[in-house]
């Protein structure tokens, strides 16, 4: 009984079409990235890696790629390190303002990206600090903190606090008990939270577009300005690299954590 479908085939057909619609841009852009012409021809007239070479030969793209990767790495590490104590406090030491604190931390998710970007830009303009690399890092830490916090809180709620108590009774210090008894079981939350933060920082456009200038850009912002000025598949080559990165991340998550666990924590 439990193996029979509970829905008619028409529903499966709609679902299949919707999956196709969701996925369509990815295979399409990969094919386009290898197209020898800057417009579509069917059937394709050949393959070229010219646009990838173009991407790596472009100084602005190289600098933007370095910025995006290093900013995302810094933001991921700092955000996880900041979210962890908050998660411990919220789960293990409930206090009066707990809900208020969690709501405040999650507030940036409700604010449209353009408004957050504008707000950051006004403060940087008003205070004379100006935009650039470190302002982007700080803004993205504030914005991605809730993305890291949620999986950590969900993960920690499922870990028995007695483990840590047992470790302490056996003579471990407070920090030692946490590091050796609890932290290993927190790996799923750290992986899930880290993935969300890294991907959001790599991909963010609506906040960072306000905080970049001619000297410091990120990949999405640079791609955006390239699309406006040129009409060739160089950005498709960049997109293909990003898709490869995300496919690698998905398979790594599936191998280490399992997708179901990952989605439960999100």
């Amino acid at each position: 009984m439990s193996t029979t479908r509970s829905y008619p085939w028409g529903v499966s057909a709609i679902a299949a079409i919707v999956v196709g619609f969701i996925v369509l841009p990815l295979p399409f852009i990969i094919v386009y990235a290898f197209s020898p012409t800057n417009y579509l021809v069917f059937p394709p007239t050949g393959l070229t890696t010219r646009w990838f070479a173009n991407f790596f030969a472009n100084d602005r793209f190289r600098a933007a790629m370095f910025n995006s990767l290093s900013i995302s790495a810094i933001v991921t590490i700092v955000t996880l390190a900041m979210a962890l104590p908050t998660a411990i406090l919220a789960v293990r030491h409930p206090f009066k303002g707990r809900a208020l604190l969690l709501n405040f931390v999650s507030a940036p998710l409700l604010v449209p990206g353009v408004v957050s970007g504008m707000a950051a830009l006004s403060l940087l303009g008003q205070s004379g600090i100006g935009v650039g690399y470190w302002p982007i890092v700080v803004a993205m830490i504030c914005f991605t903190l809730p993305l890291a916090l949620r999986p950590l809180v969900a993960n920690l709620s499922g870990i028995d606090p007695d483990l840590e108590t047992a470790a302490r009774n056996l003579g471990a210090g407070r920090l030692g008990a946490f590091v050796f008894a609890t932290l290993p079981s927190l790996a799923p939350g750290l992986i899930a939270g880290g993935t969300f933060v890294f991907v959001e920082t790599m991909d963010n456009f609506s906040i960072t577009v306000f905080l970049t200038d001619l000297r410091t850009t990120t990949l999405p912002v640079e791609a955006f300005s390239y699309i406006r000025d040129f009409d060739d598949p160089t950005v498709a080559a960049m997109a293909t690299l990003l898709i490869l990165l995300s496919v690698a991340i998905v398979f790594a998550i599936e191998a280490v954590l399992g997708l179901d666990r990952f989605l439960d924590l999100g």
């Binding site: 369509l24 417009y39 030491h93």
Partner: protein
């Protein structure tokens, strides 16, 4: 009690972020009360509400706000119609291999980001793009799918569907399959089981995913900017244009404050509606 106070330092990093956020928004609100001289970069007082006056009487701003809400509602409705069947199949499919394959596709798409997909849609929907090439091959006339509302709706929908489906899938999965099977064993048709068991039980999850879709489409920026070709103006693109065209930060800040108030009011109303649905159809939700 003493031990509790001892642990509160753990909140310090988050409190710093919250404090910074408050400073940013206070500064932001104060900037919206200032002025900037044409061509200058220095914002100055005296503080006045004149920016708000100008924004609120402007028909363009009001029209854009109205249009933004309408577009977000339409996209949310389409997400529900297209996303529900997929989320349901994902939660109830007897084949775990197919479920896994669909999940892999959804998560990979979701992780590959917005810029990638926005760019892909400009090519797919373009005048010499995939769709028009196909139409041409069939001997049909070309369609204008880009630099207009159609392109924006298709691309924003494509961006939002993975979020919507994954959220709703999580909710439908928690509904015990036994309930549906019991109704079937008692003689109810599949349609009846859906209307009287599955749909009501999934309403809280549906409300949560629809609110998420609505919030994301209200704030959508990159897709209207790239696929609207300057002809589709939503609040987000209007604010960006204000900065780009005149670098008038106070005017753009004013629009942003108004937009934020609009979004918070709408989402607050939705949260209230969700609470009502929750108390009627399901366990009260903490979130």
């Amino acid at each position: 009690m003493r031990q509790q106070r001892h642990e509160l330092w753990l909140a310090l990093p988050s409190l710093c972020v919250v404090a910074l956020f408050c400073i940013v928004f206070v500064s932001f609100a104060s900037v919206s009360l200032m002025k900037v001289d044409p061509g200058g970069a220095v914002m100055h007082g005296p503080l006045s509400l004149s920016n708000y006056e100008r924004a609120l009487v402007s028909p363009a701003v009001r029209q854009t706000a109205y249009y933004t809400i309408r577009l977000a509602l339409l996209i949310t409705l389409l997400s529900v119609l297209l996303g529900y069947p997929l989320a349901y199949v994902l939660a109830r499919s007897p084949s775990s291999r197919m479920r896994r394959a669909i999940l892999l596709c959804l998560v990979a798409t979701f992780l590959s980001g917005g810029v990638t997909r926005a760019y892909a849609w400009t090519i797919i929907l373009g005048n010499r793009g995939l769709i028009n090439l196909g139409l041409q091959w069939l001997g049909l006339p070309r369609l204008a799918l880009i630099n207009n509302e159609t392109g924006v709706i298709i691309s924003v929908l494509n961006f939002i569907l993975p979020f919507f489906v994954l959220t709703l899938f999580g909710a439908i999965r928690t509904i015990p399959l036994n309930l549906e099977q019991a109704a079937r064993n008692l003689g109810a048709s599949r349609g009846r089981v859906f209307r009287h068991v599955t749909l009501p039980l999934s309403l809280p999850g549906l409300a949560a995913s629809a609110s998420l879709a609505f919030a994301l489409s209200l704030g959508a920026f990159l897709f209207p900017q790239l696929l609207g070709g300057g002809r589709v103006q939503v609040m987000a693109t209007l604010i960006y244009d204000r900065i780009l065209s005149s670098y008038d930060i106070p005017a753009a800040a004013t629009l942003s404050v108004l937009f934020l108030l609009l979004v918070l009011t709408l989402l607050g109303g939705l949260a209230l509606a969700r609470r009502l649905i929750g108390s009627r159809y399901g366990a009260p939700e903490a979130a």
